[in-house]
């Protein structure tokens, strides 16, 4: 008599494809997953609690370390919430600089995703090509604010540093370069038959499920829901630029892949227009009181980060420190659908689906 039993497998926290210290406990029947339980919290640092004892400028570096692949958008969501609360006027040049770095950051973040996703699927080289091109963006940021990953660049009311001479031209040169590289990426990867069969029809869900789970970003748009905060609730200067929101139809990894690739191109389009309209001179800091004390009250501000809707909720009692600060982190919310998606899939698809969600563990655990 043959007796079979389920195999309990710990994927992570030390595993090459969980993108950091993330762990999933899976019950396997052969290679088919019967049950999957994500275990989070290995990178928890208590950012929200720490923020309660810090003044608003001091919180900005903590946001860098949440989603360390996309620190600029994190910076922005916090300062945006505070500015909304205080109803501050932001100088145009500062706002342009913010928008340019955010879109550059989106390109850099998607490049990291693209490289690591292909690495998950088993192709080594794209990772290095992606990092080659990301390096240019990182160098641009380094020149702008002296940091490569955790920028601490934005301030309530403006930005910390003005663009050095020639910086804007460098960004202008980067756009056609990146367009050319995108073609190279498509030739190497996007048409590869093995790659397409790996991602087509994997991890499918419909629009209602996506909304029920609160998904956002490419994870939501792959089902055809037209929701991009840059378009639907324009913040910063996004209402001044023309760009499309790519949508999927099937809600599988294939759609998510091509949406992100298209978003890269759209970001370049926004950058191109922003460089054109960039004001020659102007202030980079608005009129901000020396100690930032937002009026008592509550506020929720949200923006479109590369991973989806990142939100910042602040309760102020009129002091220099927030009474309560809460971040809505898209990686964390997007992950919640994982146990549902993984049932019935194989070990291989687990990696494909997890990679396709695009998580950054620093943001999951915050």
């Amino acid at each position: 008599m043959i007796r079979t039993e389920e195999l309990l497998l710990n994927v992570g926290p030390q595993h090459p494809s969980t993108h950091g210290v993330f762990r999933i406990v899976v019950k396997l029947d052969g290679e088919v997953i019967k049950e999957a339980t994500p275990v989070m919290g290995y990178l928890h640092r208590g950012t929200e609690k720490l923020a309660e004892n810090l003044n608003y400028t001091q919180i900005i570096p903590y946001t860098d370390r949440m989603d360390y692949v996309s620190a600029m958008t994190n910076n922005y969501v916090l300062v945006h919430a505070v500015e909304k609360m205080m109803q501050l006027e932001i100088p145009e040049r500062a706002e342009f600089l913010r928008l340019i770095v955010m879109e550059l950051q989106r390109v850099a973040s998607h490049l990291v995703w693209w490289g690591t996703y292909l690495l998950d699927i088993g192709a080594m080289s794209p990772f290095l090509y992606a990092f080659r091109d990301r390096e240019i963006i990182i160098d641009l940021f380094n020149e702008l604010c002296g940091a490569r990953l955790t920028y601490n660049y934005m301030r309530v009311g403006g930005v910390k540093w003005d663009a050095p001479e020639g910086w804007i031209d460098k960004v202008r040169e980067f756009i056609p370069y990146m367009r050319k590289k995108m073609e190279e990426y498509d030739r190497l990867v996007s048409g590869n038959e093995i790659f397409l069969t790996r991602i087509k029809g994997v991890g499918t869900y419909d629009a209602q499920t996506a909304i029920d789970f609160g998904l956002s970003g490419a994870n939501l748009r792959c089902t055809g829901v037209n929701w991009d905060i840059r378009k639907n609730e324009p913040y910063s200067l996004y209402d001044r630029f023309e760009f499309d929101v790519p949508l999927g139809t099937n809600g599988d990894c294939y759609d998510r892949y091509f949406i992100r690739m298209e978003e890269l191109r759209q970001s370049l389009r926004i950058l191109e227009q922003a460089i054109e309209q960039f004001p020659k001179d102007g202030e980079i800091m608005g009129k901000v009181p020396r100690v930032i004390r937002p009026p008592a009250g509550e506020i929720y501000a949200r923006i479109e980060s590369p991973r989806g809707e990142i939100g910042c909720y602040i309760v102020s009692k009129g002091k220099a420190e927030p009474y309560r600060l809460k971040f809505r982190r898209p990686s964390f919310v997007n992950l919640q659908i994982l146990p549902k998606l993984l049932v019935g899939e194989t070990m291989t698809n687990l990696i494909t689906i997890l990679g396709g969600v695009d998580i950054v563990v620093g943001e999951v655990d915050c």
Binding site: G122, A123, V189, N192, T197
Partner: protein, 336 residues
């Protein structure tokens, strides 16, 4: 070489054979050492990196340093592992990989034996290595290893069959299983070599061979991003080196076999180029095959287990059978 093999077995002859074997072992080990270096360099250049360049001039001693490191590492055996199988598995994997090289003719005169069932011998022995991999996966008592070992078993069954059937066309054309006869049966011009008349068989053979080698895009048993390292998760030191060694010796074997079966062995592509010795031509074709394998590794993503299965059974096997059928009709009508 052929005449030596016919001589009676005396102590002197035995000593000569043994010496040849040892010399050949060192040639193969030398190949493996520099194939690893070559692979790292080639993939490095394809990936905008420099590759190994620290140990020795141009990093030429990098692999030697790696081997030395593996030799002095602690040899760990997990407490709950099946001790004897755990020790046996690398040996079972490695020995056949070296033993199959016996039947490969390098030039008209340089070969170790001319078995009249050479191809069968190759196919039969190379299967044994997979048993070693399954044993390693099972004996390690590790879940990732076990999954890797099981994948390997499934892969062996799916790809060994098309691999063997794809060369049946070549056998039909030449009427022999002896690899030497097969090379001699291929003409003086490069379009008379088997890869053009047997193009379907050639393509199936290449795909099945890459799978047999467990290399990208078929490196499922050791799929790094899913199974960490697959069947050799628990191995360290020189036992681990044996698995790597077996993999690269098989690269040597498959590249030689492809050269012999489909690329005309030691023949020059045109008759006026025959002044260049056959061994040079063999090495050139052989190096091209090796490079091709490394090139694949730098560009291809990995295929999924179920897709691998359906591809093997539903595409490769029918294709190779059709190839046998068409070749058989051709041989019956035109050659007989």
């Amino acid at each position: 070489m052929g005449t030596w093999l016919q001589e009676p077995l005396t102590w002197t002859n035995f000593a000569i054979f043994l010496a040849w074997g040892v010399v050949f072992l060192f040639i193969v080990l030398g190949f493996v050492t520099y194939a690893i270096y070559f692979e790292r360099k080639v993939i490095g250049w394809m990936q905008l990196r420099i590759g190994p360049n620290r140990v020795g001039p141009l990093g030429l001693f990098q692999t030697l340093a790696d081997i030395f490191k593996l030799l002095i590492k602690e040899d760990t055996i997990p407490r709950k592992a099946d001790r004897w199988l755990f020790i046996l598995a690398p040996v079972i994997t490695y020995v056949p990989s070296f033993a199959v090289l016996v039947v490969i003719p390098y030039t008209d005169s340089l070969y170790f034996t001319d078995l009249n069932v050479g191809l069968l011998y190759y196919g039969a022995l190379s299967c044994i290595s997979t048993i070693g991999i399954i044993l390693a996966g099972w004996a390690s008592n590790n879940k990732y290893s076990l999954l890797g070992g099981m994948r390997s078993a499934a892969q062996m069954i799916s790809y060994e069959i098309p691999l063997v059937i794809s060369v049946v066309g070549v056998i039909l054309l030449n009427g022999s299983l002896s690899l030497r006869t097969i090379v001699n049966g291929q003409g003086d011009y490069f379009w008379q070599w088997n890869f053009l008349p047997q193009i379907i068989g050639f393509v199936v053979f290449i795909i099945a061979a890459v799978s047999e080698l467990n290399r990208t895009p078929f490196d499922l048993p050791e799929a790094e991003s899913e199974l960490v390292a697959g069947y050799h998760v628990e191995y360290s030191g020189f036992r681990f080196a044996f698995f790597m060694l077996a993999e690269y010796v098989y690269v040597f074997a498959i590249a030689s076999l492809t050269t012999v079966l489909f690329l005309g062995g030691w023949h020059a592509p045109f008759p006026f180029l025959t002044f260049i010795p056959g061994i040079i031509w063999f090495i050139l074709k052989f190096m091209f095959c090796v490079f091709f394998l490394f090139w694949l590794r730098a560009t291809m993503p990995r295929i999924r287990v179920d897709q691998l299965m359906s591809f093997g059974w539903k595409v490769l096997l029918p294709l190779s059978l059709i190839n046998v059928f068409v070749t058989a009709i051709y041989v019956e009508l035109f050659i007989k």
